[in-house]
């Protein structure tokens, strides 16, 4: 696989074209707005936490294929997980992209490993991590995050 094909893997392209949970939800308990000023990616994320579990989740906005597919796959993965589990996955994902692979708990990431190719494109790491930063902000009650 070329470097470019490692970046734009089929699963990423498919989620970009048909993002999951690409909608606003009725009664969110946690919301946040995330943006990447450099390239203009912007997402509103809303989450409904019920009994400490991600009961509903949705995102809206626009951005590149990497940020959008990352958002789509994030919503799939954290849905039904406890808040703690969601935050653990977030940590593992950020470690995968931003630090040595050695520190990554791959077992938590599953399908998200397709984003490993992003590491070869340092300027795109912010795209892949944007929605996770936004999730972190939502769960911690921060209203707006920027990856600049």
């Amino acid at each position: 696989m070329s470097r470019l094909e490692q970046l734009y893997q089929d699963m990423i392209l498919e989620h970009n074209k048909h993002p999951r949970h690409f909608e606003s939800i009725e009664s969110p308990t946690h919301t946040a707005f995330g943006k990447n000023p450099l390239c203009g990616d912007e997402y509103h994320l809303s989450v409904e936490i019920k009994d400490n579990v991600v009961f509903l989740i949705g995102f809206q906005g626009s951005g590149c294929a990497i940020s959008k597919s990352s958002a789509s796959m994030m919503t799939e993965l954290v849905l039904g997980k406890s808040v703690q589990e969601a935050l653990q996955i977030k940590e593992a994902f950020l470690t995968l992209l931003m630090q040595d692979e050695a520190g990554t708990d791959r077992s938590l990431l599953g399908k998200l490993m397709v984003f490993e190719g992003v590491k070869k494109y340092p300027v795109r790491v912010k795209c892949a991590t944007l929605i996770w930063r936004t999730l972190e902000a939502a769960l911690e009650g921060v209203v707006e995050v920027s990856t600049e």
């Binding site: 203009g40 294929a65 795109r124």
Partner: protein, 407 residues
């Protein structure tokens, strides 16, 4: 088309730019910054290895010679702009600093509550934010000439905003995001008609069109060396001499005073008045070399080649389905902003990079322009006289690759 490509002229010119012979590089981000000809790099090297010294103070040979080089660079810029006098050429860090200088000096000294500053809807952030700051400090108001769908402004819209409250018009000569060339002569005439001063942001213009500040009659003209084949860290503020000497200094310190006692300081006249501290000596000298290089190529050749490239690229892009050109004004410089249906500009940038093509993807420091056209960002290819139609063919291939992969 191929006639010019195979011409010796173009080959020879490309050999002047060592980086262009790098394997597989297609450099189409000239509106952000241009590549440097060997003579500019050589000039910097020679100055640093054989001639380096400070200016305006040493009594020794090296310093005197450096001062001569520095001051003769001012003469080179004067000639390039056809300014009346070298006192009208102030070296700054770049366009951004030149605008901030005028905003802080002219703005704070001459603007008061209720006065108005007019800009256009296609300005770079560097020609928006300094004026917003001045307005906040003085109570003046910022008025904006709206953009038409093709990315041009209408003189009738401009005239509607002009009044005796207008104290300054600050407008871009050539838009970096859209390529639009503004009718600056007419803008100057109309603005002077109500007694307003005019600043022209020539950052994108000086590499494409000859500029004669006396014919243009603008009060200020600003641009950056790095977009004109010269070093980074240098730019120019041209201003009319009598007016410059009525403006208070922007920064104070060494080199810009006549005399200092602890009770009172008298300031030197322009240009020293606005050049506090040790300037970018080597870069200024390299900049003059870049101007001489551009003058050797000549604007006849530059304009011929660049309009050919723009026409060729525009025609190729118009044939592509799902591709929209943003900025279609009748007067345009060689800038091609575009979007591809279903593909985010950032992804376009990455796919192009994979093919060795350097283009810009983003908001181009002109977020109001992006908003006007309802996009978060665009992809932008911008051409210099050293680019070729083959490189545009590569760009078109890149667009198709984006569509295959992502659309």
């Amino acid at each position: 088309m191929t006639v010019l490509n195979s011409s010796n002229d173009l080959d020879r010119i490309r050999r002047d730019f060592p980086v262009l012979s790098q394997n597989g590089l297609v450099y189409l981000d000239n509106a952000a910054t241009t590549q440097k000809p060997r003579c500019v790099a050589d000039r910097l090297y020679k100055f640093y290895t054989e001639e380096y010294g400070t200016i305006h103070r040493g009594v020794y040979q090296l310093s005197q010679q450096a001062t001569d080089f520095y001051e003769s660079s001012r003469e080179t810029v004067r000639g390039f702009l056809n300014a009346r006098s070298i006192s009208e050429v102030i070296f700054t860090k770049g366009t951004t600093e030149a605008i901030n200088l005028v905003a802080n000096s002219f703005g704070r000294a001459f603007l008061k509550a209720g006065d108005e500053i007019i800009i256009s809807g296609m300005e770079h952030h560097a020609n928006i934010v300094p004026w917003q700051q001045v307005c906040e400090a003085t109570g003046a108001l910022l008025r904006v000439v709206p953009l038409q769908d093709d990315g041009a402004i209408l003189m009738s819209d401009f005239q509607k905003l002009l009044s005796d409250r207008t104290k300054l018009v600050s407008m871009v000569h050539v838009s970096n995001a859209l390529g639009t060339v503004n009718p600056v002569s007419e803008i100057v005439k109309l603005a002077h008609g109500v007694g307003a001063k005019v600043l022209i942001d020539g950052a994108q213009a000086v590499s494409h069109v000859p500029v004669d500040v006396q014919a243009l009659d603008c009060d200020f003209y600003v641009f950056s060396s790095h977009k004109l084949y010269g070093p980074t860290g240098v730019g120019v503020l041209y201003g009319k001499e009598d007016f410059l000497n009525r403006m208070p200094p922007y920064q104070t310190g060494g080199d810009m005073i006549e005399s200092v006692t602890f009770e009172k300081t008298t300031f030197a006249k322009a240009p020293a008045r606005f050049e506090a501290g040790t300037p970018a000596i080597a870069e200024v000298i390299g900049f003059a070399e870049a101007i001489r290089y551009v003058q050797t190529i000549g604007f006849d050749y530059i304009q011929k080649q660049e309009s050919l490239l723009l026409a060729y690229a525009t025609a190729q892009f118009e044939k592509l389905s799902g591709v929209t050109i943003i900025g279609t004004a009748s007067e345009k410089a060689s800038v091609l902003s575009f979007s591809i249906e279903g593909v985010h500009p950032h992804d376009i940038g990455t796919v192009m990079d994979d093919l060795g093509i350097a283009i810009r993807a983003g908001h181009h420091c002109a977020q109001p322009v992006m908003k006007r056209f309802g996009v978060a960002a665009t992809a932008r290819a911008s051409f210099a006289f050293y680019n070729t139609t083959e490189e545009i063919d590569m760009l078109v291939m890149g667009v198709k690759r984006c569509q295959e992969l992502l659309a």
